[in-house]
Structures are given as C-alpha cells and as structure tokens.
Symmetry: C2
Subunit: 207 residues, 2 copies
C-alpha cells in the first residue's frame, strides 16, 4: 500500500519532471540549467537533488516518460476489416501524423542530438519507438500473408519497408528544416506509401 508521504513524494517528482520537460523541449539539454528548473518549479534547488542525483538523471527520467507516451497507440490502429488497402492506409496515416507532430519531432532531435552523452537512451527510444511500430506492422502483415491477401514473404522485412517509407520522406524534411508539412502532403504521402508497398506485396498483380 502507498503511504500518504510516498504519494506526495511521487507527485512532487512528477511535477519536477513536467516542469523540466518544458524547458528541455524549449531549450535543449545543455541550455537548461537546474536553477532554471527550480525557479520554474517554484521550489528550491535542494528539492531537485533529493529526487534526482544529477541533471543527467533528471533528463533520463524525462525521456523515459515521453517515450512511454508514444507506445501502444499504433497497434490499436491496425485492425483487420477485410480490406487490406484500407486498413494499411488508415494505420499509415496515423503513424505519419504522429511522427510528424511537433512533440514527436522535438523528441527525435533531442534523443539523436544528446545520443552521444546518453547512449542507452538512444537504444531504448529505438526499441520502443520505430522498432515497436515495425513489429506491429509485421504482425498485421504476417496475418494477411497467411490468409493469402498478401504475397508471402518476410513479414519483418515488409514492415521495415513501410517504416522506412514513412520515416524517410516528409519526416526527414521536417527534421531539418522546420517546414511543417500540410495535411494534404501528409495524406498524399500516406497513399504513396501504401501504393508502393502493395506494388511489392499485393497477392496478385493489380490490373
């Protein structure tokens, strides 16, 4: 059972992470000072070090929290309704919207940029992010292959193609410039991804 003190301690800890998250996202790791976090928190610096032994530890906690936000959603959008193309279109569109969202882009930049300082975070992010998405698609594709609705082949590799197509186009452009893609561009890319995929993996050559 959770004692009252432990509850409040966790609340305070969460508040610290939340306030730090805003600063990390806004200004990056290096430009965010612990004093600034304490000020934004309204509390004292001593409190910070009672919860996190160092700035690095606070950053790691923040990243882990963000990553867990991005889990689970994908597998939800991948249900089979009998129409493979429609199912894929829907899921791909969801995926594109998500990885092109500003919070997601900021997280990408942060993880890649500070990847040198925090090698483990990069690994965790990859496994729970892109890799998890690929696995979800692979499971869906595998099922359709078994049913004969897709040409049989390596489902994991096929899913890799989908992820690559999703993360190599608009996503790359958005990562470097801050040109936000329009909704139409996103929808067009989603269709193009599904088109390319089905050209490679449709059960029978489309007329």
């Amino acid at each position: 059972m959770m004692t009252r003190r432990e509850e409040q301690r966790l609340e305070r800890r969460a508040a610290i992470i939340e306030v730090a998250a805003q600063l990390f996202v806004e200004k990056g790791y290096g430009a965010t000072s612990m004093s600034a976090v304490a000020d934004a928190l309204g509390g004292s610096k001593a409190t910070l070090w009672k919860h996190f032994a160092s700035k690095e530890e606070l950053f790691a906690a923040f990243i882990e929290g963000r990553i867990s936000l991005f889990r689970e959603e994908v597998s939800q959008t991948l249900a089979s309704t009998g129409n493979v193309r429609a199912d894929l279109s829907k899921a791909v569109l969801h995926l594109l919207r998500r990885i092109l969202s500003e919070p997601s882009l900021v997280l990408y930049r942060l993880v890649i940029g500070e990847g040198g300082r925090f090698p483990e975070i990069g690994r965790i992010f990859y496994e729970r992010g892109p890799k998890a998405n690929q696995d979800a698609f692979a499971m869906f594709i595998q099922a359709r292959m078994s049913e004969g609705e897709l040409r049989k082949g390596d489902a994991q590799e096929a899913a890799g193609m989908v992820i690559a197509l999703c993360s190599g186009g608009l996503h790359q452009r958005a990562l470097w410039q801050d040109s936000k893609p329009t909704k139409k561009e996103i929808e067009a890319e989603a269709e193009a991804v599904v088109d390319h995929f089905l050209r490679s993996y449709a059960a029978k050559a489309p007329k």
Copy 2:
C-alpha cells in the same frame, strides 16, 4: 593574385577548423570549449578570435566544410550502362555505404542536435545532402523513363522513394544505437531497395 600573407592566413584558418572539427565531432558543440581548441591548436586564444568572431561562427565554418565534402560524389556513381538494375544497385550501394559511414553519422547527429541553435545549418545540410542525392537519382530515373526502361511517372517522387528506403532502414538503426551494420547487411539492404523500387517502377511486370 594571392599574397604570401593571405596564403598563410588561410592555412592557419584551415588548421583551426581542422582542429576544432576533431573536438566538435568527439565531444559535441556544447562540450567543446574555445580554450580547448586553442590548446589543441598549439596557438593562442587571441588568434582564434582574429579568425572567427565567435564560437558559433567557427562551428558554422566547420559544418559548411564537412557538407561540401559530401557533395558531388553521388552524381558520379550514377551513369547509365544500359542495365538499369545494375546501375541502380551500384549507386544505391555507394549511397548506403556513405550515409552509414561514421563521419556521416556523426555529422547527422551534430546537425540535428544543434539544429535549434543553428536553424540555417539544418536547411543547408538538407539541401546539399539528402535533397541533392534525390535530385541526382531523379535525373537518372527521368532519363530511363524517357527511354522506356522504366514505367513513366513522377521521377522526383520515384527518387524520393529510393532515398526514403535508403535512409529509413539501417540508417535509422545506426543513428540511435551505435550498432555498426555489417557489410552483408548493407549489401542485402541495397538489393532490397532496388527490388522494391523496380517492383514499383519496372517498365513491364516481372515474371
């Protein structure tokens, strides 16, 4: 004509950039101090500020230098020998090897990571890097489309598919973890990229 003084000044400037490049690559922008650059150079701090008005300016000069190293190579590898598949395989393999090389990965991380502080550098990098590659492929593809060796379509979009497939698979994995892909993995991915591309754009449906 270049006077002797100007020559030596440029040499010294190049030496500074070279020495700074090593530190930037090793430790990142934030963790590289100007004093450290001066020490590694063997010279004095005053000299640094005679060449570069600020640390940011030095960093920008370093990045621009690196980017120009990565230009031009790609278009060289894209010649037509009459065999589309072979031509593409060769060029894709070259591209993959290059973007998966350690210097290239480090540059990626640096540009993305410090992208917030230097927004223009991200744009320049994109235009001279991924975008330039895409244009080179688009030109090749356009020519093959005209000759009837590839199904007619939007050459720029087709090239985008190649670039996306190249930068979405092993490259993503390499960016986050520091797992260096093996030569076999790279070759396999190159073949897979060409396979997928030709399935979408081959002039006639393969048997």
